[in-house]
């Protein structure tokens, strides 16, 4: 039966080559466009830490001493609040994070100085975020406390400075200080770079930069504060900071805290702990609003920040509108094709083929067109993704077709063509028998 249908379908496809080519092309173009954008969406909206993300949380308090501050807590914390929460050790793991830039040189490496993106954090960062290492490892809690001059560098920087060799134990110079390399990151490209996500709601949909590469240098927060106390990026300030004042007491938010909480009970406890802290700080007169606290999960935090750029969403909807046009197109063409074979179908029916058989044969033919269209769609998807990779966007290098998306391409193509074929096939199988025989 299968072979017979296949034979009939192939014959039919060969009979009107132009019409067949048009249908295959329409499906291929529609699938190519929608799978390209769907793949980009899939890459950008995925879970950056599968299996782990559910246990990671982002606490927020509102250190604003004025009651007329913003209605939601700032996207980062002031140093004191962040340090207080961190020092309490109420979470299974926890890491403070701050950003800055420092001039980097490497002795015995003949490269001009460069400005390195420095992520200042604490020792739990690496185990908590499951960061892979190529050489060495992260630093210890003891190093945090000792303000040790140690650093972990990215594999990109290691390639640039040391041509990929094991650089553990070697020294780099940050600003005016020597820092010993204790680890080199392996291939690590979280999508998005979740631990740096903040301020998405102010970005007006231009959030492509959340998909950038990890920083060049990771080092203990205490150590980088020693090297350059003023070298950190602010998120914002609730009043003008004094330029000569200590950053750690400035009226600015520039530190974030990530915590790992392994059970629902711990999450509940931690939520209470944060609320309790805010109440206590209000009593001390430091906070104006104790109720303005949040404890968002990692995925919740990404969602809140609208990490997927609005251009990407827009492209996806465009592509699906496009697929719909291609679908209408294919329905029309299939209808033309099936109905023009009225005579042949009439003969088959007269010879005893059931309506179901005619329907099955028509759908089989539609499916075959879908399969061919899917093949073309796959090529166009690969072309589309290649085009996306050449875009000047931070996520360009992330965009690749994975196995799931590869299968989905064909599933979507065949589903589309079957959907397109359904109406024409029904019409073809319902044709009045006598009428068709008479005019033939």
């Amino acid at each position: 039966m299968f072979g017979y249908y296949l034979d009939l379908a192939l014959r039919s496809l060969k009979r009107n080559k132009v019409l067949t080519a048009l249908m295959v092309l329409a499906i291929a173009v529609g699938i190519g466009a929608s799978m390209t954008t769907l793949t980009v969406m899939h890459v950008l909206s995925g879970d950056p830490l599968p299996g782990r993300s559910g246990t990671l949380f982002f606490p927020q308090v509102d250190p604003n001493p004025y009651t007329d501050g913003p209605s939601l807590p700032y996207d980062m914390m002031d140093y004191r609040s962040a340090l207080d929460l961190w020092s309490a050790h109420r979470a299974d793991r926890q890491a403070l994070i701050a950003h800055g830039q420092l001039k980097l040189t490497a002795p015995q490496v003949s490269l001009p100085p460069l400005m390195a993106q420095v992520l200042s954090t604490t020792s739990d960062f690496f185990p908590m975020f499951d960061v892979p290492f190529r050489y060495g490892r992260g630093w210890s809690a003891q190093d945090d406390a000792n303000r040790a001059r140690v650093a972990v560098i990215s594999s990109d920087l290691n390639d640039k400075l040391f041509h990929g060799a094991d650089s553990v134990g070697r020294t780099i110079r940050l600003k005016d200080s020597d820092v010993r390399i204790v680890g080199v990151l392996g291939a690590w490209r979280p999508s998005p770079q979740f631990y740096d996500v903040a301020g998405g709601r102010f970005a007006d949909g231009q959030t492509g930069d959340f998909y950038g590469r990890p920083e060049d240098v990771f080092m203990p927060l205490n150590s980088s504060s020693d090297i350059d106390p003023a070298g950190f990026n602010f998120f914002t300030c609730w009043s003008m900071p004094k330029s000569d004042a200590n950053l750690q007491t400035s009226p600015c938010v520039w530190v974030t805290l990530w915590v790992q909480l392994d059970s629902a009970a711990k999450v509940r406890d931690y939520r209470q702990f944060v609320a309790g802290y805010a109440t206590q700080q209000k009593a001390l007169g430091r906070f104006a609003r104790a109720d303005n606290t949040q404890l968002r999960s990692l995925m919740g935090w990404l969602d809140f920040n609208h990490v997927v750029p609005s251009d990407v969403r827009l492209q996806m909807w465009l592509a699906f509108a496009f697929l719909l046009i291609c679908l209408f197109n294919t329905v029309g063409l299939l209808l033309a094709k099936f109905l023009s074979r009225a005579g042949e179908i009439g003969v088959r029916r007269a010879l005893g083929a059931s309506r179901a058989a005619v329907l099955a044969q028509c759908l089989f033919e539609a499916g075959l067109i879908g399969l061919l269209g899917g093949g073309g769609g796959l090529l166009l998807t690969l072309l589309g993704l290649w085009l996306v990779r050449r875009q000047p966007v931070a996520y360009a290098d992330l965009v690749h077709l994975d196995a799931a998306m590869f299968l989905l391409t064909f599933a979507l193509a065949i589903a589309t063509s079957l959907l397109a074929g359904l109406l024409p096939a029904l019409r073809a199988s319902r044709m009045a028998l006598g009428l068709q025989l008479k005019i033939t």
Binding site: D204, A319, I325, N329, G332, L333
Partner: protein, 401 residues
């Protein structure tokens, strides 16, 4: 023209007719919105910026000792001034479109409230010539104002500022801004000049209100000034930049020296906007092609089906022109129905996008323009099959198919 028989015939082919109408409607709706988005993005890319964009190059020095700036900056400026072709040079804290926002909000009263974040630029002596600022009212800074003005707590210790025309209009509508006072955090500055609109440091993030909200303060040499602005004739800028990088690379051997022409900085800032516009354009083209192919395919099928009917009409005296007209009118009717439906759909999509993506309202003239485009497309698509139909010889009528 006989529309009635065409309508009668379309009624017999309800499904294919509906499909063509839907296809055209959807194409019309998507086309309108996509073209509108392209237009908006092109407008973004061409935001005017009242500095000498073609003549400016910017060299950034990072990682040097801020304490040495007082002596280093005059030395560096003197060296840069020595480059052939440099007409003006100055130090500054940041540049329009450099994506390194230093924002502050200014109010017209000490206790006022504002939601517009203004990009703050501190410029060294000669900064207005180096940038090519265009003065509309008042004056630029005096030499002593540069000398007096330091930088404390991220604000100017001077007493004067320049603002843009947009801010002047926004803050004091209908009045002259000259001599007025702006406040932030209990500090006050007098507006001494109004300059033509200069873009913000990151206008995409600043929204329509902040796009041209920029304030300039004078500043004597200070460690916060990381940018050297060089102005030259446009044809010299590449060479000037190259020489400036060499000069500063030598003088600031301790620092990280990078540079770009301003035109290059602007291109980099709008690179993703431009690529999105190209992407949308590509979608429009392919979509129109697919729609056209659909019309060609279905009309061809119709022509094939009606060969006998066409032959009969030809035999009873219809000319080729009549047959051609028949198919063209048919397509015109379908196109009109599709466009009418498409306009409603386009408007609906625009409303949705306005809510979800903060898009602007689509101007009405997009609708008729896209309608005409689809009519023309339909007529072109139908031409081939219609010509084939008109070539059906009358003798077909006498044969059984």
């Amino acid at each position: 023209m006989q529309i009635r028989p065409i309508l009668a015939s379309l009624r017999k082919h309800r499904i294919p007719a509906t499909l063509i109408v839907l296809e055209i409607a959807l194409a019309c709706a998507v086309l309108c919105n996509a073209v509108f988005m392209i237009g908006q993005r092109l407008a973004d890319i061409h935001w005017p910026n009242a500095i000498d964009e073609q003549g400016i190059s910017v060299v950034t020095v990072n990682g040097t000792d801020a304490k040495l700036a007082a002596s280093d900056i005059p030395r560096d400026l003197a060296a840069l001034r020595g480059i052939a072709g440099v007409t003006a040079v100055a130090a500054a804290t940041s540049m329009p479109l450099d994506q390194n926002p230093a924002l502050s909000s200014f109010t017209t009263t000490p206790d006022g409230n504002t939601t517009v974040n203004t990009s703050v630029y501190f410029i060294g002596s000669g900064g207005e010539q180096a940038l090519g600022l265009r003065l509309l009212e008042g004056r630029f800074f005096n030499a002593d104002e540069y000398a007096d003005s330091g930088f404390k707590d991220f604000a100017s210790t001077g007493h004067v500022m320049l603002i843009t025309q947009s801010d002047a209009r926004r803050l004091w509508p209908g009045q002259s801004a000259l001599g007025k006072t702006l406040y932030t955090n209990e500090q006050a500055w007098t507006v001494v000049g109004v300059v033509a609109d200069v873009l913000a440091q990151d206008p995409k993030m600043s929204g329509p209100g902040g796009r041209y909200s920029s304030a300039f303060f004078p500043l004597r040499p200070d460690g916060a000034m990381g940018d050297y602005v060089l102005r030259s004739a446009p044809q010299d800028r590449v060479r000037v930049l190259r020489e400036a990088l060499q000069v500063l690379g030598r003088l600031e051997s301790d620092g990280v020296v990078q540079g770009a022409t301003y035109a290059g900085m602007r291109d980099a800032y709008f690179a993703d906007t431009r690529s999105m516009a190209w992407m949308l354009l590509l979608v429009c083209m392919v979509m129109l092609a697919v729609t056209a192919f659909g019309i060609v395919g279905l009309t061809s099928f119709w022509v094939g089906q009606r060969r006998r009917q066409i032959g009969i009409r030809r035999a009873v005296g219809a000319t080729r022109g009549h047959i051609l007209q028949y198919f063209q009118t048919e397509n015109f009717l379908l196109g009109t129905a599709g466009v009418a439906l498409g306009m409603v759909l386009a408007f609906g999509i625009n409303l949705y996008l306005m809510q979800r993506y903060e898009m602007a309202r689509m101007p009405w003239y997009y609708l008729p323009v896209s309608a005409v485009a689809l009519w023309v497309l339909g007529q072109l698509a139908v031409l081939g099959p219609a010509l084939r139909a008109s070539n059906v010889p009358p003798v077909v009528a006498t044969r059984s198919v």
